[in-house]
């Protein structure tokens, strides 16, 4: 068991590096690169732009630049005698193009939590992301829970009443809601429940006041209903379909016939023997579901004015604030990897047929 978990964790490491490599490569290939983004409109002299280039290390070969972004440059060029000028270095140059001494590296790298400084907000990126993470987690977790519970419930009922009206209607609905563009669904719901009936708010996380923080979640549930539903639709239709298929497969198993033959009542047969076994393959859904939620949250948060990471990413991409975009991508990637990892481990734990050797 421990070996299995350990092996899965080790397998996840190259994926993490893949994600950082990809987001770095995209960033490094922006027209003009980070210097153009930083120097744009900032009224810098050419010499200052040069200094910025050296400080950011954009003239180094890109593997070094990637390394610097990943683990920082404070150990690549450092100061031993306390004069604020570097006197030792590895891998990178110690002096500028004209031989002038350079300050020591001050970046700590994303592995140590240094995602750099936001181009637009002139603040460290990590706190900006961390400030917005709770709102995103709130919306994401509630959508995951709602999506999985409604979807699984519908799937089980549809399988129990196989080929009856409930089954037919939910199957049609599953395809219909699978095909809906979620921003259109969001606008429709806002139009109906917000603008026409005026029973649910037209967006935001809580009532807008001078105080930017929100009251505890149970005092503002009405703000959560529409965005949660919109973000959960994909999950509901996917979970219900897979649960139904999984149930129907389990039903044909011998142990189901045995359970019925023993004279167990049908509720026990369906739920204890059927649903519990049908749930096993559903465990593998967590990883893809988390990736889906992150993506969907970008649109949902934008429409509902939800102050989470997704909306921040849209704003950051628009203003070309790449450090924020990269940090958000790494965060989303890590949580997806963790989701995949967790679902694999869960799968191993709850399915006794899987052997760990």
């Amino acid at each position: 068991m421990y070996k299995y978990v350990l092996r899965r964790v080790i397998q996840a490491i190259p994926i993490f590096f893949g994600i950082t490599l990809l987001s770095y490569a995209l960033m490094a290939n922006t027209p003009g690169g980070p210097v153009a983004a930083l120097a744009f409109g900032a009224n810098l002299k050419p010499s200052e732009v040069e200094a910025l280039k050296i400080q950011l290390g954009v003239n180094d070969p890109w593997p070094i630049q990637y390394l610097r972004w990943l683990v920082g440059d404070d150990w690549l060029r450092w100061d031993t005698d306390g004069d604020k000028l570097a006197d030792r270095s590895v891998l990178i140059g110690i002096t500028g193009p004209n031989g002038e001494p350079l300050p020591p590296g001050d970046r700590r790298g994303i592995l140590r939590g240094d995602f750099g400084i936001s181009f637009v907000r002139s603040r460290a990126v990590l706190p900006i992301i961390l400030e917005r993470l709770p709102a995103s987690i709130e919306l994401g977790v509630s959508s995951l829970v709602v999506g999985a519970s409604i979807g699984i419930l519908v799937g089980v009922i549809a399988a129990v009443y196989h080929d009856r009206w409930f089954d037919h209607i939910t199957r049609v609905l599953a395809v219909v809601f699978d095909a809906v563009p979620i921003f259109f669904l969001a606008i429709l719901l806002l139009l109906i429940f917000g603008a026409q009936l005026q029973i649910l708010p037209l967006g935001d996380r809580c009532r807008v006041t001078m105080d930017p923080s929100c009251p505890p979640i149970f005092q503002r549930l009405e703000y959560l209903i529409l965005p949660t539903f919109v973000l959960a639709t994909g999950g509901i239709s996917a979970y219900s379909r897979f649960m139904r298929a999984s149930m129907l497969e389990v039903v044909s198993q011998d142990y189901m016939r045995t359970a019925r033959a023993k004279g167990l009542n049908s509720r026990t047969v369906w739920l204890r023997h059927g649903a519990r076994n049908a749930l096993i393959p559903i465990a593998t859904f967590l990883g893809p579901a988390i990736a889906g939620i992150w993506g969907g949250a970008v649109i949902t948060e934008t429409i509902f004015n939800w102050p989470g990471v997704g909306r921040t990413v849209v704003a950051a991409v628009t203003s070309r604030d790449y450090p924020i975009v990269m940090a958000a991508t790494v965060f989303a990637g890590i949580s997806t990897i963790l989701g995949y990892l967790l679902s694999d481990i869960l799968y191993g734990i709850i399915d006794p047929r899987i052997r760990f050797d």
């Binding site: 809906v180 563009p181 990736a291 889906g292 997806t336």
Partner: protein, 309 residues
């Protein structure tokens, strides 16, 4: 399996010489037969055909039938409702004709979905067959690339790439195709792995068939049905992705209309009473994608040898 086909297979088993006497159908013929009797799929196919034709001939229809340019603004006739004179579906906030824009937009939205899916499936089919067949280190590397790409939410990737490269409608096809080839590759790889271990592949190998012959003559034809299913779902999925991207303002840039970016200002319309601007493009995307998914499901059922339909 219905009674006639069971009878067929029993006679075939009992008397291999009588094959000519039985009207035998190939898997493809039987699937087509089932498909034509599947009413829901046929309705979806007809709707999709009509929408595609409207989109394909959109420019001609607007030019010769409606005689309106989709990008001409008209400050005097802003926000006209449905059925207003000269504008069947009304006008938008800049006085542009809604119907003309819908037709032009459909051409772009459907085109991006269709060609994007073609590209991603070609890539996925090639890579899937190669990795599934050879396995080993090629498979490991491809697995790493795919898992990495799948771990980043596709919309993040899309908006990053779209923001950096500012794609046109044509280059957006490639950007969008980038996110969906991984799923296709995974699927085809799995199928190839299964087929590779079947006896007839072994016998082909024993007869001395080359690797490429086995891959493309013996394995690839068995992937046709799954490719058709995936094609339908990919077109739909990519249309949704394009719509989302354009809605956020990172996709096809205005004034070129797509069904997605026609909804970008929709939130203001919610308050300003422009429902006629919200519903048509939204339902166009929804219905088109729904038709594609229904057809995909129908094709899957038709090709499924265990289905009774």
């Amino acid at each position: 399996m219905d009674s006639t086909s069971r009878a067929t297979s029993i006679t075939q088993l009992g008397d291999p010489g009588s094959e000519e006497a039985i009207v035998s159908k190939s898997l493809f013929q039987r699937a087509m037969h089932r498909l034509l009797r599947d009413r829901l799929t046929m309705i979806a196919a007809v709707i999709l055909l009509i929408l595609s034709m409207l989109a394909l001939f959109g420019p001609q229809i607007t030019q010769y039938v409606l005689r309106i340019d989709p990008n001409t603004t008209d400050a005097l006739n802003r926000m006209q409702g449905i059925g207003s004179p000269g504008h069947i579906l009304g006008t938008d906030d800049l006085g542009r004709d809604q119907l003309a824009r819908l037709l032009h937009a459909g051409r772009v939205s459907l085109g991006i979905g269709f060609f994007g899916a073609i590209i991603s499936i070609s890539v996925g089919l090639t890579l899937g067959v190669i990795t599934g067949f050879f396995g080993g280190i090629i498979d490991d590397i491809m697995n790493w690339v795919i898992t990495t790409l799948d771990s980043i939410p596709s919309l993040y990737l899309l908006i990053m790439i779209a923001a950096i490269f500012r794609p046109t409608a044509e280059s957006l096809i490639f950007v969008i195709a980038l996110i969906s080839w991984t799923g296709v590759t995974r699927l085809i790889r799995g199928q190839t792995l299964q087929i590779r271990n079947l006896d007839y592949v072994l016998s082909a190998r024993a007869l001395g068939a080359s690797v490429w012959r086995i891959m493309f003559v013996h394995i690839a034809p068995n992937l046709i049905s799954i490719t058709v299913i995936v094609l339908m779902r990919s077109i739909g999925g990519l249309m949704l992705a394009e719509a989302g991207l354009s809605f956020l303002g990172f996709g096809v840039q205005i004034p070129q209309a797509t069904w997605g970016n026609m909804l970008t200002d929709a939130q203001e319309y919610v308050r300003a009473g422009g429902i006629h601007l919200i519903l048509p493009p939204g339902f166009c995307i929804w219905i088109t994608v729904l038709c594609l998914y229904v057809i995909g499901d129908g094709v899957r059922d038709a090709f499924d040898p265990t289905s009774n339909k």
